[in-house]
């Protein structure tokens, strides 16, 4: 008494959001049925397991047929095969491109290559995200990367327009693309405490300030690659630590400003030279691709960790960095104000984001 065939097709495509999520999460049909039963669908409606199975199968088939369209979302709007209301389309696309933070954290900064894809089963085992879902997410990253790679114009806007994503999701994808392109190291143990959102915010800062696009907004890859000229100019900042007088002068200016304003003043004073050397060294090394990759780990090691061990509060950090940046302007022999601002602006924001109390 086998059911040989069982289909249900609505003129307006019927899609249950819960089942869609289960499908996206990579549940098999049977697991999805189980999950739905556990969620209590049967109680709210007089139905049995067979009905649920049949419904789940139908929906899975629909999603599979839709998947091709979801991969190029612009098609979804003017395809004729499925009649889906616009707000439904938005939901479908948004959810299809949504990702697990735990998963993305694992691949962030990695090359989106076949090699990485092979490691997905390990990531799946580690994060608890099903392999199917991992693949979908990974393929999404790769697809977005491929498309925007060849486009001119602002990265976030390109992603938003080509994949019809919400602003938030488009920014996240921009971050993922940016990280993948620059291969920032994010997997080190010291960086484990940082969430994807932390990195995404940092990426936003970097994209907005340090890329080619920050100065010229009509070049290829403008938002993906860092501004080479700028990185070159950063070498000039070396004077701040190389010139002993300048360093001392800088320190005294900062200390004068900070005195009495924070409990951590003693530590600040003691650590000033160390911290300053750290930040300026990061700046001067950024011409090396290798050092660009280590940007975040360097920030943590050279600045965040020392501060944390001295129990600075976030307010302390803010205060310190503000004065540290501003005082450099008063230094007479220091001529690289513009570069300094461009550099410190991002560093400041990144450290704020990355410094968790």
């Amino acid at each position: 008494m086998a059911v040989e065939l069982d289909v249900f097709v609505g003129n307006t495509t019927i899609m249950d959001e819960e089942v869609y999520q289960l499908w996206l999460d990579g549940y098999t049909v049977n697991d999805a049925v189980k999950a739905r039963m556990d969620a209590g669908v049967l109680e709210e409606c007089e139905a049995d397991a067979d009905v649920l199975l049949s419904d789940t199968m139908d929906q899975y088939r629909t999603f599979q047929m839709c998947e091709r369209l979801l991969q190029s979302p612009a098609k979804l709007a003017n395809q004729l095969l499925f009649q889906i209301t616009p707000h439904r389309q938005v939901m479908l696309i948004e959810r299809y491109y949504a990702f697990d933070d735990t998963f993305v954290r694992e691949v962030l900064g990695k090359k989106l290559s076949k090699g990485t894809k092979k490691d997905l089963d390990d990531i799946s085992a580690k994060t608890g995200v099903t392999l199917k879902s991992c693949r979908r997410q990974f393929d999404n990253f790769k697809r977005v990367f491929k498309v925007v790679e060849e486009l001119k114009g602002p990265l976030v806007e390109n992603i938003r327009q080509h994949f019809l994503l919400s602003d938030k999701l488009a920014r996240d994808y921009a971050a993922i693309v940016f990280f993948a392109n620059n291969r920032f190291e994010t997997g080190k143990k010291k960086l484990q405490y940082l969430t994807f959102q932390d990195f995404a915010l940092c990426a936003g800062q970097l994209i907005n300030n340090w890329t080619v696009g920050a100065v010229d907004n009509m070049v290829e890859d403008m938002d993906v690659d860092l501004d080479k000229e700028f990185l070159q100019e950063l070498k000039e900042l070396k004077i701040l630590i190389a010139d002993k007088d300048l360093l001392d002068q800088h320190k005294s200016l900062v200390c004068t400003a900070l005195r009495g304003k924070t409990k951590a003043f003693a530590e600040m004073e003691a650590n000033f030279k160390n911290l300053s050397r750290g930040l300026v060294n990061i700046a001067t090394k950024l011409t090396n691709t290798k050092d660009v990759r280590d940007f975040f780990i360097d920030l943590v090691e050279k600045f965040i960790e020392p501060c944390r061990s001295d129990r600075w509060t976030a307010a302390d950090i803010k205060l310190y960095l503000t004065h540290y940046t501003n005082s450099a302007h008063i230094l007479d022999p220091f001529k690289h104000q513009a570069v300094w601002d461009r550099y410190m602006g991002v560093i400041k924001s990144c450290i704020f984001i990355m410094y968790h109390d």
Partner: protein
Amino acid sequence: MPGKLKAKIVAGRHLPVMDRASDLTDAFVEVKFGNTTFKTDVFPKSLNPQWNSEWFKFEVDDEDLQDEPLQITVLDHDTYSANDAIGKVYIDIDPLLCTEAASVISGWFPIYDTIHGIRGEINVLVKVELFNDLNRFRQSSCGVKFFCTTSIPRGYRAAMVHGFLEELVVNEDPEYQWIDRIRTPRASNEARQRLISLMSGELQRKIGLKVLEMGGNAVVGYLQCFDLEGESGLVVRAIGTACTLEKLTSGSLASAHTHPNTAPASNACNSPSKDGKEPVFGEDLPSSSGPPTPFRALPTSSSSPPPFSPCKPCSRQSSSSDTDLSLTPKTEEPQSGRRRPGIFLCPSSPVLSADSLSLPGLGSAGCGHGSGPRATSPALPSFTYSDSALLRKSVSFTEDLLLAASGMGSGGSAGKEAGPLKTLLRQQTQTALEQREFPFFTLTSFPPGFLVHVGGVVSARSVKLLDRIHNPDEPETRDAWWEEIRQEIKSHAKALGCHAVVGYSENTSICEEVCILSASGTAAILNHRYMREGCLDIGSTDQRFEDPSPPSCGFCHIPYDELNMPFPAQLTYCYNCRRQKVPDVLFTTIDLPAEAAVTGKGCLIQARLCRLKKKAQGEVNATVISNLLPFMEYELHTQLMNKLKLRSMNALFGLHIQISVGENMLLGLASATGVYLTALPAPGGIQIAGKTTGDMSNEQHILTIQKRINDTIARNKELYQINPPELTEEGVGSPIPEPRHRSRLFRSHSESSDEVSELDLSHGKKDAFVLEIDDTDAVEDIHSLLTDASPPAGFHSCNTETMPGIYNWTTAVQMFTSVRVLRLSNANLSNQSLNKIFTDLCENLLKSFYFKLRSMVPCCLCHLNFNVAVPEEELIQVSVTAVAMTFDKDQTQERPAERFITKGGSETDEQLQFSLELCADSSSTNSQPSSRISGTVSLFTPAAKLCQSQLVVVHSTGVPENTIVSSRAASVDYGSFADRCSTWLELLRLKAHTIRRGSVKTSRRTQSLAHSVSSLEHCSPLTEGRSRSVRSSRSFGGSPVTMVKMTPLSFLPGTRNIKYLGIINMFFIRETTSLREEGGVSGFLHSFIAEVFAMVRAHVAALGGNAVVSYSMKDCVLMENPNKNQAQCLINVSGDAVIYVRETDQEPTASMTNMGQSLCAADGAT
């Protein structure tokens, strides 16, 4: 003179990659019409080519325009090898040939390939310039409008209903031609699609010609079907109702609004005596400008009574032979015996009729007792006896009636005269209708008052052996087959005292070389005098005379004479008006009339049945099948009856019985919507009786079952809100019916009717529908009765247009198609277990629907159309198309007085102005008023005829000259109530039953005009604020796709159809040789159905429409061979493309050409 067809290929998008090397396509397009082909340039290396071609012009005959589709082929250019086809688009240009329909076809069409499915889209522009054709002998019928809708389309008024249309064309099936061995599956599929497209074009043209010949301008209720007869060929056939439609202008809208109150009241009772005296009658009739057909020799009978023999009421020469043919087997016992012993196979009603006729005083109770003992040993001789008894009886009764009638003629007072005169009028209508070969109407709902009385369901089936169609131009055999069936239907209708058949449909089931032809409809009496203006005057004086049947119950009143009922049944006075008799149960194939008074809500009632049969070949097989048919019909009917009682309802609407044949089994599925008609008596309960009373455990068992049944009935009453006010001892003794009662007695010169009514009283309070448990089968049957689950809370279901009892629809609509195929793994199944499997299959499908649509609650599944098939041995296929519609729960109790408004089109009222063509026929009689009085004698001829054709279940073999000797037509009449006791088999279980008496007052509830127009579903994406902002910033979003709603109903709730754009009639074939890769059969069919929907929507949108109404999927033939990884499927769909606007919106004043935009605007406004 011809027309000029112009086509322009604009662009393509989402094309498939045809060149692997470049991942691109070099596409060009061939545009073909008839034998002319044009090509566009190649647009190299693009998946979104912009051809922007010139206008390709075809100068063609309008005949070709009707037959041929425009064929657009998209190809990939290949320099070195043959060009690869990407896919095709067939565009039916028929809608452009009608001035009132679409003016241009413009839009994106899916490019379809029979192997790969949809492969991208193409933007096409098509126009037609038609020149006036004044040639009388033309073969084209451009301009005739076609509607699938089985009612008068909204926005139109029927100036005239001309009658039945039928046509069929046959051809060889390309799939079975020799060439098919050497061509590719794609070529074969395309040949088939093209041929069918051509054939249906031709069919439509021919039907159109018939309409023009009749003087009409439209076909309503157009039903086209394909019979894939395999080797013997391909038949495309169609039936419909010819009408003269007039588009309602806004002016007529206003004037028409005055009608609704007066017209319906007056129509049903066109005061006869007044008609007789005044010339108004004659003037009202359509003049000779009408169709040519009706003016055949007018019934001389009615004007000159003596020659009018009671036994031969039908004076028409042309059809009398047919009538005789169908009558002879029933009346002339010796002859029928000689011709076919089969007639005695199931000669149920002769027995019953004889009983009831000879013992009129005892009524049905007597019938029950009398037949009880006989039923146990149904020996043939007794039937022969009863048959002759019947014959004798009928003659004597006829004499009585003649006497009665002549007595009446001299009687004289106006009040008394009224009755016979009314019958005379009916008589005239009848004879007028009989002038026509088939007084059939494919419509299922009518303007108020059109339907006077409904007799019951009439159906006929015939088993035929297919043979090769030798000459496609002369499809005589197939014509003859249908002719035969229709004659049968016609005679059944007559037996019910009716002159017309409404809600008529035909279908077939084919397995190998055996074919079951089925036809069914509802016998009815139509109001021929439904006039335009004069009607109102007559109506005002109407009240003085008898029979102002209120519209809410008039149609329930019996059309036959109660003394010569074709079947034993219990009649009671109408519980609504108390003036006329009604049956206890009413079965019909039509929709519930809008004006009918209903108590509570309705529900879907299904009877399901499987019967195994031995595998056989040819004639033996046909014999086996035709022997099984009556038993199946009977079983299905018993199930329906029991389930109806179980739900405490008393009428079925939209009854559709499908019997499907397979190699080793027959499937029967009857679906209908059960209703409690206020006018009909409350159904009694079901009582279980054990056979052996001694057995204690058995007794106990019976008691538990009885309790369960009683509980179910009580629960159902609550569920469906059936709580008619119980007014017990009022009934017959009430003052209103009294005078009439007496007059009737006088007229008939018979005490019997008095006794019958007496009897009704005496049995007033008994629940007596007895089911006897005498064997395990019966136990099973009762169990299966109780297994039917009622829909979950918030859901309702019906198979009619709308749900009786729900009047406040909101706008959310979800049409769906579902197909399920079950493989019976176990080879040795019994009938019982097979039944269980089949029943579960249907029940589970319904459960699935409820589950899937749970988010729409409260909602109703309307027009649930089940289709069963046995595609292969051990496979059962059920396909369902239906629509889920939401309604406002809070107001379900209230019923607007004017239902039409809520039903969706306020313009429906205009249909009130309605006249039937046959009025013209009777005009000659009307010119001599004197003759009518003398003609009273003829009044009773139909009654006499009833006696002759009282067989309910009749086996009649094919017409003798038929080449297939073994073929046999099994036919069943479902008399309105006769069904219950219709066959001797039934007597096995049915001992006696009477009717619970209790009168119901019609409750006129206040009109609820609250139209809650919810914005649950937006038709245009533009209404979605959020998406608009998204869309506006899209770089290549292109134009958004128009949302196209689809519904099997004739309307969308809360909207008005402002324009009908033409008929959609499409046939698709899909084949695959990579079944597994496409997700198995389910995946294959799922995407195919989705593709079909997409193509229908695209065509509608290109015509400028935004909805398809009266959508139906008529065929879904699936063949699979998983071992070879192959499958093939054929789907045929049809419907009416329309433009609708929200009821709250103003009709867009913008010109129709940019309908799309104005619609968006209109929708956006809501």
